[in-house]
């Protein structure tokens, strides 16, 4: 797997054939994010719409995948159904090691199958099967069938979409091995429009270990750091939900469609409560001993004769924000019940919850009614949200079809754009202040993980436009290198540049090790150039009025500061892409 080029499988669903392609760029684009942008420049069509059959969906891993702990993520990139521009989404599960052990640096899917199909591959096989019988099937059921139909139990990844993806919802996700997701910006629809229900990758290749003692020593050192020290404790103890209480305490947790930033009711759905009341067990991405996946359970009696149904639902900070605090659902099991429906329909739970929060406030204000929503939406009514989620995933009427394209699309038809909680896409759960609002609005993935804006807000009360922009730009470059390795970003405290350099050298990439900073900047620029070529302009993104009306620990949002930050950050992005 250590090689001076990229080995890429290009599968054309129109012809049913695949082609192995060798590509230069290992020492400039590295892998992951860099490789995905390189491949989009080769196979993408910036001027054509996302739904064009020739548009590629790309999956890329990095030079350290499979060789070190927590190098366990895959970058999926595509032209987004949400904004019709180039984007990335990241996920773990077994996807990264499966691609590695399929002897591929990337998988490129182009074309469109005439009928619903699944793609199965390994290092020595490629097969496209008709799965017309799965049309409309939910994520859970299709996963069970794919398991039966495919080889490689334990050593494979099963990516699949639900009805939301088949129906073209721009907030549909690609489910990865049940508990992980390429969640944001409509990857599900990008596969759905190709009539591709699932991708099963069996990792059956065998590689020689790097022939030096330093590799084994480094592996053990990294393993020790991530397991025997407290560096990763926050991820495997309560997990990311531990942040719910803290952000609520500093008035930075969105409640009821961001009508508030703090509420005492958090005690019923904070990380401690979820762990105590619902946590069933932990799980891990392959190659990561941290095990940050928290699987909760719901047990419900569906028949008076003590007949029960039992659900296992993986929870994180973000879905508890989007389906809990944003919807004012303050019971842990109710949050999991809504999340379970999101999972089954194949919706991104973050976007779906925020969209339903907008719909609830639009209902309160009389802009929409049961006629559109099918069920009366009101904050706190978990059962209604389960029904609404099903309708949203199935795009069951014109309203839900439009809402599935994004809250602002629905608001353009029904009104209420001023309270749509959209920052480039439906917001992440951080009402930390001006820096984060500007950062998510213009961030490459519109993700809180594009840069540390949410963290900056929590440490800096002072206003410093130049300092913030410098921070966001330089922080993003470092993360772009990490997501080209492809590391889990939870490990960014462990994989400092020195350690990354040692790891790269030990497996045979001293050139990359010597140029980490420069390569990160290059990849950052390449990604933005690719995005800009598909239509990105900072001026086209507006921040809805709701974000100007809130109060955080720093006090009321300063609208002048927020606008100035957004303008300056936008100019800096355009400058870096053109430099």
């Amino acid at each position: 797997m250590i090689r001076d080029h990229f080995r890429v499988l290009v599968v054309n669903l129109s012809s049913g054939k695949g082609q192995v392609v060798q590509l230069d760029g290992r020492y400039t684009e590295a892998g992951g994010s860099g490789l995905a942008a390189l491949l989009f420049q080769k196979y993408g069509h910036p001027e054509r719409p996302w739904s064009d059959p020739d548009q590629p969906v790309l999956f890329a891993i990095g030079p350290l995948t499979g060789y070190f702990p927590l190098m366990s993520k895959t970058v999926c990139s595509f032209k987004s159904p949400y904004h019709d521009q180039y984007t990335e989404s990241h996920a773990g599960g077994r996807s990264a090691l499966s691609l590695c052990f399929a002897n591929l640096d990337a998988l490129v899917i182009v074309g469109r199958s005439e009928r619903l199909c699944c793609l199965t591959l390994s290092s020595r096989s490629l097969d496209i099967k008709d799965v017309g019988f799965m049309k409309g099937m939910d994520v859970d059921e299709s996963g069970k069938l794919f398991r039966e139909m495919s080889p490689g139990s334990g050593h494979r990844t099963i990516l699949r979409i639900g009805p939301a993806g088949e129906n073209g919802a721009a907030m549909s996700c690609i489910n990865v091995d049940t508990y992980r997701h390429f969640g944001r910006l409509g990857g599900g629809a990008a596969l759905g429009v190709k009539n591709l229900k699932g991708i099963i990758i069996h990792g059956d290749a065998i590689f020689s270990q790097p022939d030096n003692k330093e590799y084994s020593r480094l592996y053990s050192e990294v393993y020790k750091q991530v397991t025997a020290t407290d560096m990763m404790k926050k991820y495997h103890n309560l997990g990311t939900p531990a942040n719910l209480q803290g952000l609520n305490d500093i008035k930075s947790l969105p409640w009821r469609n961001l009508q508030a930033t703090s509420d005492p009711a958090i005690e019923a759905i904070n990380g401690e409560r979820f762990a105590t009341d619902t946590l069933l067990r932990n799980s891990a991405c392959s190659g990561c001993p941290v095990g940050c996946i928290h699987v909760g359970y719901v047990r419900e009696m569906f028949n008076a004769n003590h007949r029960y149904t039992f659900k296992q639902v993986a929870y994180d900070y973000e879905p508890i924000f989007s389906l809990g605090t944003m919807l004012n659902v303050t019971d842990a099991r109710s949050v999991l019940n809504i999340l379970d429906v999101m999972e089954k329909t194949g919706l991104d739970a973050m976007s779906g919850g925020v969209a339903l929060a907008w719909a609830t406030e639009a209902t309160e204000k009389g802009l929409i009614s049961d006629k559109e929503t099918g069920v009366r939406l009101s904050f706190g009514d978990a059962e209604a949200y389960q029904h609404a989620t099903e309708m949203l995933g199935n795009c069951s009427n014109d309203f839900y079809r439009l809402l599935g394209q994004g809250s602002l699309k629905a608001a353009a038809e029904y009104g209420g754009a001023e309270f749509a909680c959209v920052l480039g896409q439906e917001m992440a759960g951080y009402a930390t202040g001006e820096v984060f609002f500007a950062a998510q609005s213009l961030g490459f993935r519109h993700s809180h993980l594009d840069s540390g804006g949410y963290s900056y807000d929590q440490k800096h009360a002072e206003q410093d436009i130049d300092g913030v922009v410098d921070f966001l730009i330089s922080d993003e470059a470092g993360r772009a290198f990490m997501t080209s390795m492809v590391s889990c970003l939870f490990a960014r405290g462990v994989y400092k540049d020195d350690l990354l350099g040692s790891c790269l050298t030990s497996v045979g990439y001293p050139e990359l090790a010597a140029n980490i900073g420069r390569t990160g900047v290059h990849i950052q620029k390449l990604r933005w150039q690719t995005r800009i070529a598909t239509g990105f302009t900072p001026e086209a993104i507006t921040i809805p009025r709701r974000f100007y009306k809130i109060e955080t620990w720093k006090g009321p949002i300063d609208p002048i500061y927020l606008n100035s930050l957004k303008n300056a950050y936008g100019k800096a992005i355009i400058a870096l892409a053109g430099s």
Binding site: L97, R147, G154, D204, F207, S283, G287, G291
Partner: protein
Amino acid sequence: MCALGFPLSGWHIMKKLTTPRIDRCIGCHSCTLACARLVHKRISWDTAGIRIKSSGGLTTGFKASHCLACDPAPCASACPTSAFSRRRGGGVIVKKKLCINCGDCVAACPVDAIFQDYTGAVYVCIHCGRCVDFCPHNCLQMEEMGGNTEEEESA
């Protein structure tokens, strides 16, 4: 030294790999990757003496495929060239140089513990215990096999 480079001479307390707390497994594959890396010098999910699978989907937890140290070992009995020989106390001693890649040991194993790659080479747990320290949840354990036993000398 055995074919894999570990000292075998002298008297030892024979131990075997066990999985007494496999219910704690999170499916990270660290044990598999450690065995492949440290014992077999490979980067792989397959070329390891312990391999982790979900037991019917990720919602049902995990199980470990590994040698259960049968005594006598049916795989050793099935081996036509003595590449696999009986290890006192249970399990097998592997002499790779004698292996003709026939795969009879794979068929003979009742618990699917032996992996055969596409070249025909086979991989089985040698109960060295190097995977144990790489389990973050302490699922694995080396257990004594009942008193001191002299190991057979390996080629």
